[in-house]
């Protein structure tokens, strides 16, 4: 046990040490570091070819770039979206898979089942419709708090899945096939076998979402979100229209979930209701909580781990989910705020340490 604890302390101190070093660098060094990081990420599909590193990262039993796209990118997108809802606005959503399903189904309907639109045109429509679903679900339920909200959202996820399963117009349990692929762009061809182009596309979506969320977080909207999470009553008394901003968080989260669904549908070309089980909602939530609820980069890391670890551990075959479960439980025991806690959490500790010093001095 102490070995595990020791390991975690080391890993986490590695992260914070890295952060401090990073802040100490000047502008140019920092930008080049960002640039190198981005290039390294786009080269991820080739990492298994690198001698030692390849041995470590490669996923035995499944194709690495397929894991990267179908698991990691999808989970990271979803963790980013769900983090807005759970981490930033503090609304527990147990039915997030519903929005993912809406995004995928709208794409399927528009490009195959009941339409002939190109994938690229279906994308914005699907995102907007997912957001509409966010408004429809959010308007009546956001007046609820805590547990009640969680139960209603849980129901929503199931309603979407069961509706898809029982409506012939939505393909029922057969699902919808022949969903259109993304168009060729920048010399990338989106075929059936090669997952790399999808990964590049997905990674680009991740960067765009990060950019948008970053802008939001430091805006008036972001301030309102933090205030609501900290103390909803106080936020209201300070003049924050809490309902409006919670609905915004819900809607933006829903849109990002929908976007992930669009990407998924475009890649696999065939979806059915069983692709969107309740279990996924739980895994999505696990990703956000594991990584660090409220911190965008924590959520990303959580998404990567929850998606990647089971694939990496495939050698343990049946026991991999067990191992994964144990890791999750240990995490919650030793680091309940997640691997990368939200900013205030970090500074909280530093300041507390400082103020204690101050008290000793005075």
């Amino acid at each position: 046990m102490s070995l595990v604890l020791n390991f975690w302390l080391r890993v986490t101190s590695l992260f914070s040490g890295f952060g401090e070093q990073f802040r100490a660098m000047n502008k140019w060094q920092r930008y080049s570091a960002y640039g190198l990081g981005v290039v390294a990420l786009y080269l991820l599909p080739y990492w298994p070819d690198v001698p030692v590193l390849g041995q470590i990262v490669n996923t035995p039993g499944s194709q690495f770039e397929t894991v990267l796209n179908d698991q990691v990118v999808i989970f990271v997108l979803i963790a980013l979206g769900l983090n807005v809802v759970v981490g930033i606005a503090g609304l527990l959503d147990l039915g997030y898979v519903g929005f993912y399903a809406v995004g995928a189904y709208v794409t399927a309907i528009l490009t195959s089942a009941h339409g002939n639109l190109p994938w690229l045109l279906a994308l914005p429509i699907a995102v907007v419709i997912s957001m509409l679903f966010g408004v429809i679900l959010g308007t009546p339920t956001l007046r609820l708090r805590g547990d009640y909200l969680a139960i209603v959202t849980l129901g929503f996820g199931e309603i979407i899945r069961l509706t898809a399963k029982n409506m012939d117009w939505l393909g029922a349990s057969r699902g919808i096939s022949n969903i259109k692929k993304p168009p060729s762009m920048f010399g990338l061809k989106f075929g059936v076998l090669d997952a790399k182009p999808y990964f590049y596309l997905g990674l680009t979506m991740v960067f765009i979402v990060i950019f948008i969320l970053h802008r939001l977080e430091y805006s008036r909207v972001g301030r309102a979100w933090v205030a609501i999470r900290e103390d909803e009553d106080a936020a209201e008394l300070m003049g924050v229209n809490t309902f409006k901003f919670k609905l915004w968080a819900f809607t933006i989260g829903a849109g990002i979930g929908g976007l992930a669904g669009v990407h998924y549908a475009g890649k696999v070309g065939f979806i059915n209701p069983d692709n969107f089980p309740l279990q996924l909602s739980i895994l999505f939530l696990a990703a956000v909580v594991l990584g660090g609820s409220g911190n965008m980069y924590g959520a990303i890391l959580g998404g990567i781990l929850v998606a990647y670890m089971p694939e990496r551990l495939r050698n343990f075959s049946d026991k991999r989910i067990l191992v994964f479960g144990i890791v999750l439980v240990l995490m919650m025991v030793f680091r309940p705020e997640g691997i990368l806690p939200k900013r205030v959490g970090n500074e909280h500790k530093k300041r507390r340490a400082k103020s204690q010093e101050g008290e000793v001095a005075s």
Binding site: A227, E230, A235, M238, G239, V344, R351
Partner: protein
């Protein structure tokens, strides 16, 4: 009249917490509501801020009916509350907490800086603690922060819910001094207190609340002198 509350009824589920109370706060006045636990003081405050819905009766601010107005709209009109139990944002720094006070106003950085200066003038303690997190402050400092934050919204009417709760006697005296000072700058104050002696000394007028009714009203001094009030709230 700045604030006019008329025959107010408020329910918690099926329990009627406020059973038809009426009172007023004039421009530039300090008015206090005193009463025991469960008399309905906090409920009244929350209703004026708009967080609780009104079953019957009306709330008017400068003659305008605001009974059904949303809470954030009321803050824009100039009604701001420092809630009971302080209600500060524990994970935000003192500075960020104060900034939240200007949320509805938005706008001018110079104005905000001047307001901040003013709050620090009233509460020098907060300036010393400016980068500290709200949750790490002492009880008294949190109370100062809650009042300071409400002041940042430039209220016309400041609602103070139990500002002396859980504070040391010396601090209580200090807080009441500051309330007088705020009032002397033209801000009307509605003060809810269990510490009836201090409240009635500070306020021009007072109302005594008992299980959702106003049972007595009068000037601060006359209530202080009233034998029944003395027996019930001032310890004989």
């Amino acid at each position: 009249m700045l604030l006019e509350v008329n025959d107010l009824h408020v329910f918690y589920g099926r329990i009627e917490a406020i059973k038809g109370i009426s009172f007023t706060v004039g421009e530039g006045e300090i008015v206090t509501l005193i009463g025991a636990n469960g008399a309905g003081k906090t409920t009244t405050m929350r209703t004026i801020s708009g967080v609780r819905t009104v079953a019957q009766g009306s709330v008017k601010f400068e003659g305008q009916d605001i009974t059904k107005m949303a809470p954030h709209e009321r803050v824009k009109l100039g009604i701001c509350q420092a809630p009971e139990g302080r209600g500060i944002f524990p994970g935000m720094t003192v500075r960020e907490n104060l900034d939240m006070g200007t949320y509805v106003r938005g706008g001018d950085a110079a104005e905000k800086a001047a307001d901040l200066e003013h709050v620090f003038h009233l509460f020098p303690r907060l300036q010393e603690r400016i980068t500290q997190l709200g949750g790490t402050l002492s009880g008294g400092e949190q109370q100062m922060l809650a009042i300071g934050r409400a002041l940042m919204s430039r209220p016309r009417l400041l609602l103070l819910d139990e500002p002396s709760m859980g504070l040391a006697p010396m601090l209580i005296a200090q807080i009441f001094e500051i309330i007088k000072q705020i009032n002397s700058e033209g801000i009307s104050v509605l003060l809810v207190e269990q510490n009836a002696t201090q409240a009635l000394r500070t306020a021009r007028r007072g109302y005594v609340l008992e299980t959702g009714h106003v049972v007595k009203e009068g000037s601060g001094q006359s209530l202080l002198d009233d034998p029944a009030v003395r027996a019930a709230y001032l310890g004989g």
